[in-house]
Amino acid sequence: MTERPEFVRELATDNAFGVVQKPLTTFERIWNQGYVRKAAILVVLALVWELYARWVNNELVFPTFLATVDAFWDGIRTGGILQRAGHSIRILLQGYAIGLLIAAIFTGLAISTRFGQDLLETLTSMFNPLPAIALLPLALIWFGLGTGSLIFVLVHSVLWAVALNTHSGFKSVSNTLRMVGKNYGLSGLGYVTKILIPAAFPSILTGLKIGWAFAWRTLIAAELVFGVSSGSGGLGWFIFEKKNQLEIPSVFAGLFCVIIIGLLVENLIFRTIEARTVRRWGMQT
């Protein structure tokens, strides 16, 4: 091998480092915005809905997108669909919050004692597969008819999913981080809130999302089964009523409302949380 010459160089000065990224085309720049891409997806979905519904051509089973939007505006203007949604959301939030609280207690116990872990695992595998109607008798004994029972059923649908995800997240926290936490003298609640929860946050967020979605499902379905007294119904009741009156576009308007709320919550709340936490911390790509 021929000997290459050695060399020593002068360094560039500090102010030269501000190299910028190669410029993107306008299209790339627009397409790089998540909400643009998602809006495009939504437009395509709406189009598919419209075209398929026209092809099916059965307003009583599957109304078109436009008919649904129409019914939705109508519902907003006259049918009080927003109040109904508000009513549902209020109950939902109560059930969700209580569910999270109980899940927190259970997983806290589960992570700090072996017995707690056995208890959580056993209860989850026993109760998680039970449908809401199975709880109806107990709900009626404990809370009677009305909001109390609804919330009870909501808690049931939120609790186990959140607890499972949180617990599994806790168990997956790296040994090193656990040791660091213990090293600081943290234990009990401090240890859970300051170490385990942030470290398991990706899992917990997933649990929160699933819990949220299942709370909606359960609420809509449960409003039909029990706990509703006339006059105070929410979105689920709205859908049921319209279905019985065969006002199918209004039924879909109700579901459309659920979808919109789902999109809003995902994109305004969960995305923001994600961006401010796990993404910022480099825990998720």
Binding site: T176, K182, N183, G185, P198, T277, W281, M283
Partner: protein
């Protein structure tokens, strides 16, 4: 003078599904107040495991570990640990917050005092510019330096350091070593230090424990004054003496 830390006949084992791995076998040593005690030994000989046992994370299957006369049963901020792993920083806290959090929750300091102290030590490890970065934006060596800053900032009774300087370049390493010695001069804390580098052991340590290969057993305990002193008996420098002791093994191994 009684020992600050007394490790007596400690055997440490890992029980896995299929094996029983003995990490160290009947190790004993004493660390006195203000010792700079170095654990030196080949890879996998159980240094980290020993440190974890002192830290209170593992219970010996044999023997006892006592700190200030009381048996070690659980971890605590009186024994601040700098781990070997790169993921020892809390990913959800910035560099500054990481150091501060240790101070506020471990040493129960006020936020203001903690911030001041944190910035002081972050400066000592040359990371002021990165005080507001999250750990995932740091290089390996920078993470290691944050952990060092955190450990030193805690100013604990006894500092347990597991190869803290392994990921540092020669220059930075020398600076860190000097900082550690400087701090020791100031506060005379006790440190239990694992390293792979013989010169580092000689420079940092006041007392050096040599461990045998896996499973770790005590092979020798030597004094150092940081100057690579010449042994009067053999006429060898301390580094050379230690090297000999290690290399003896190699010769044996090669001829196995």
């Amino acid at each position: 003078m009684t020992a600050l830390l007394d490790v007596r006949g400690v055997t440490l084992q890992y029980k896995t599904r299929d094996h029983l791995v003995t990490a160290t076998y009947r190790v004993d040593f004493e660390v006195l107040q203000s010792d700079r005690f170095v654990l030196l030994g080949p890879s996998g000989c159980g240094k980290s495991t020993l440190l974890k046992a002192v830290g209170g994370y593992m219970t010996p299957v044999e023997g006892t570990i006592t700190l200030k006369g009381r048996e070690v049963t659980k971890p605590g901020p009186d024994r601040m640990m700098v781990f070997q792993e790169f993921d020892q920083l809390l990913p959800w806290k910035t560099v500054k917050q990481n150091v501060m959090f240790a101070l506020t929750s471990g040493a129960r300091m006020s936020t203001r005092a903690a911030e001041e102290k944190a910035l002081h030590y972050i400066d000592k490890v040359n990371l002021t510019k990165f005080a507001d970065s999250y750990p995932h934006m740091l290089s390996g060596g920078m993470k290691a330096r944050v952990a060092i800053a955190r450990g030193m900032a805690m100013e604990p009774d006894i500092l347990l350091m597991d190869e803290p300087f392994a990921a540092l370049d020669a220059l930075t390493r020398r600076k860190m070593q000097d900082e550690l010695l400087q701090l020791w001069d100031d506060t005379k804390f006790t440190v239990l230090f694992v390293t792979h580098s013989i010169p580092e052991a000689v420079k940092i340590g006041s007392r050096i424990l040599l461990l045998s290969p896996h499973p770790g057993q005590v092979k020798a305990e030597l004094n150092s004054n940081g100057q690579d002193k010449i042994d009067s008996a053999t006429g060898m420098a301390l580094t050379e003496k230690i090297q000999r002791m290690l290399f003896a093994d190699e010769v044996e191994q090669v001829h196995d």
